[in-house]
């Protein structure tokens, strides 16, 4: 019996996301008195794989098959299911990101494993196996019992944190092959986002709403984000108007993020917007209207005009970065 965690790499490197997943898997494995097995798919060097050990994986299985170059939900789920069965995994852990959401449901059917989708804390009990999961767009947690013998959990990004331990991991190369009959996804074109910090990875996000008034006023907001090493985001009307790219839209119908710091500038704080950002550790709001609902979600607020406040913040960050 083991806890199996699927760790994704980007250009042969793991990100904080993967280390957080392994940390979480370690927490679950401790509850079950078992060990963590990390699975990596793709060409990753041993020195990089070993990093997974620092967060509590005892064994690291690396599968490097050329046929798994592109994400094919059916074929990838097949490979992960094969490893899970071979290793007698009881709990499978994936991220609640795009890849996790693509694979987890197929794994669930393959393994007849119930899914706790969007968890942010350790199971509240292992007998019966009970988790708290996100529900009603972050407005509630649903305490859910998973009755099947195998269980799948998908972890919300940035919700658990990192826990380092002593590294005693061993790496094993697996020869599990993808059933090429299931490789049906043909990739015609790739548009990679390069250079910029991905919104879903960012620890700090500076976000603008309609209160920014015009697409021409974004300069200081972008500058603040850049100085803080963060990413930029926006409310839905802003992306609908074409002031900012669609990738930046956060909220119920956009991206769901949970950075350490979310600075909302000229955003009223509609429930649909908060649905995408409410699990941020700290929310800061800048708004001219002291009664704007965003202040109910925020820990820190400034009642003021974005055009005046943002340059002051940029200046203050410059000072501390000196």
């Amino acid at each position: 019996m083991s806890v199996l965690v699927f760790t994704e790499n980007w250009d042969r490197k793991f990100k904080k996301l993967s280390f957080e997943l392994v940390s979480y898997a370690r927490g679950v494995a401790d509850l079950l008195n078992t060990s963590v097995l990390a699975l990596s798919v793709g060409p990753v060097e041993d020195s990089e794989l070993m990093k997974l050990g620092q967060y509590g994986a005892s064994r690291i299985i690396s599968i490097d098959r050329p046929e798994l170059k592109n994400l094919d939900n059916q074929a990838w789920a097949g490979v992960i299911a094969a490893v899970a069965l071979k290793e007698d995994a009881r709990v499978l852990i994936l991220s609640n990101n795009n890849t996790g959401k693509a694979i987890a449901p197929r794994l669930s059917v393959k393994l007849k494993a119930g899914v706790g989708a969007g968890v942010s804390s350790l199971p509240v009990s292992t007998e019966p196996f009970t988790v708290n999961k996100r529900a009603f767009s972050g407005n509630a947690l649903a305490q859910t019992v998973i009755r099947s013998e195998m269980k799948i959990l998908t972890l919300l990004q940035n919700s658990y944190g990192l826990c380092e331990t002593e590294n005693r991991a061993v790496i094993e190369k697996s020869d599990v092959q993808a059933d090429t009959g299931f490789l049906k996804t043909e990739v015609l074109d790739v548009q990679k986002q390069t250079g910029k910090i991905l919104l879903t990875d960012a620890d700090i996000v500076v976000s603008g709403g309609r209160g920014m008034k015009s697409p021409d006023n974004w300069g200081p907001l972008v500058e603040l984000a850049t100085l803080l090493g963060g990413a930029t985001a926006c409310s839905r009307p802003v992306s609908d108007e074409g002031w900012r790219p669609h990738e930046e839209h956060t909220g119920q119908t956009g991206k769901i993020i949970s950075p350490n710091l979310y600075i909302a500038v000229g955003i009223s704080g509609a429930t649909q917007h908060l649905a995408g950002v409410s699990s941020s550790k700290y929310i800061v709001a800048i708004n001219t209207d002291k009664d704007a609902p965003i202040f109910e979600a925020a820990q820190y607020g400034i009642v003021g005009d974005a055009a005046k406040v943002l340059p002051k913040l940029v200046e203050a960050v410059r000072e501390i970065k000196k």
Binding site: A104, S108, E186, L188, V190, K192, Q252, T253, A270
Partner: protein, 249 residues
């Protein structure tokens, strides 16, 4: 080509959710039920494709797993323009159970392209679409933000972590759709509303299956501390607090 759009019935997105009976179930009093926003957009895109004869789309059907109480939502989908509607007469016990029922329907009715939303705004599983595809053993593409049909093949743009890809899979297949798939949800016309009244909703009784998960209670996330206001004239203080007290920058 026959398209099926799976629709779930969710509380209007502005609903302040409350629970009853010791937090065991949703307090449905006063709740306005709507088509899950993603499903409304999927339906819109399916109808746009059907409007264009070059796409080869001949019909758009909607399917829902739910009790008779959700018929107004199904009627709304018919009013927007769906040709046919199917309801599996059972509560949607969990994602696995729901997907199992939908897969049974799809086996009987045979669709070329099935559309599901990326998540339903109530239980936020992001599961039903992928599960249906696996039950049927057909390919699926997730996080689809654009869908076209070229020479009988669906061509989709999907979001992956770190970028976008244009992909195609052979039919029959399933797409899990997200933002971008259609601009604005299509609104029911007067004529649509009239014809929807007389359209038949096909009812299937559920096939035997047991859910794998069960929600036993709900809780509200811990409330946040009251907001601490900082003088706009002294905005620099905010940065110092974030650095020294919150320690996030």
């Amino acid at each position: 080509m026959k398209i099926l759009v799976c629709i779930s019935n969710v509380p209007d997105t502005t609903t302040k959710v409350k629970f009853t009976e010791g937090n065991k179930s949703l307090d449905t009093a006063g709740i306005q039920w709507v088509i899950n926003p993603w499903d409304e957009l999927s339906l819109t895109r399916a109808l746009e494709l059907k409007d264009n004869p070059a796409s080869g789309v001949k019909s758009v059907t909607v399917a829902h797993v739910g009790t008779a109480a959700s018929e107004p939502t199904i009627r709304k989908a018919l009013a927007i323009g769906a040709d046919e509607a199917i309801r599996v007469n059972a509560g949607a016990a969990d994602a696995w159970y729901t997907a199992f029922q939908l897969a049974e329907v799809i086996r009987k009715e045979q669709f070329d392209l099935v559309l599901c939303g990326i998540e339903s705004s109530d239980y936020n599983g992001s599961l039903v679409g992928g599960m249906i595809a696996e039950f049927l053993g057909i390919p699926n593409v997730s996080a689809v933000s654009s869908l076209n049909i070229e020479n009988g093949k669906p061509v989709m743009v999907r979001e992956i972590d770190g970028g976008k890809e244009t992909v195609t899979v052979p039919v029959p297949c399933l797409a899990v759709v997200q933002k971008g798939i259609a601009k604005e949800p299509r609104i029911a016309s007067m004529r649509g509303i009239m014809t929807a009244r007389t359209k038949q909703i096909k009812i299937y009784e559920p096939a035997p299956a047991e859910p794998l998960t069960e929600v036993v209670s709900f809780s509200k996330p811990a409330p946040r501390a009251a907001c601490r206001f900082i003088d706009p004239e002294n905005a620099a203080e905010l940065i110092s607090i974030l650095q020294n007290e919150a320690k996030v920058i």
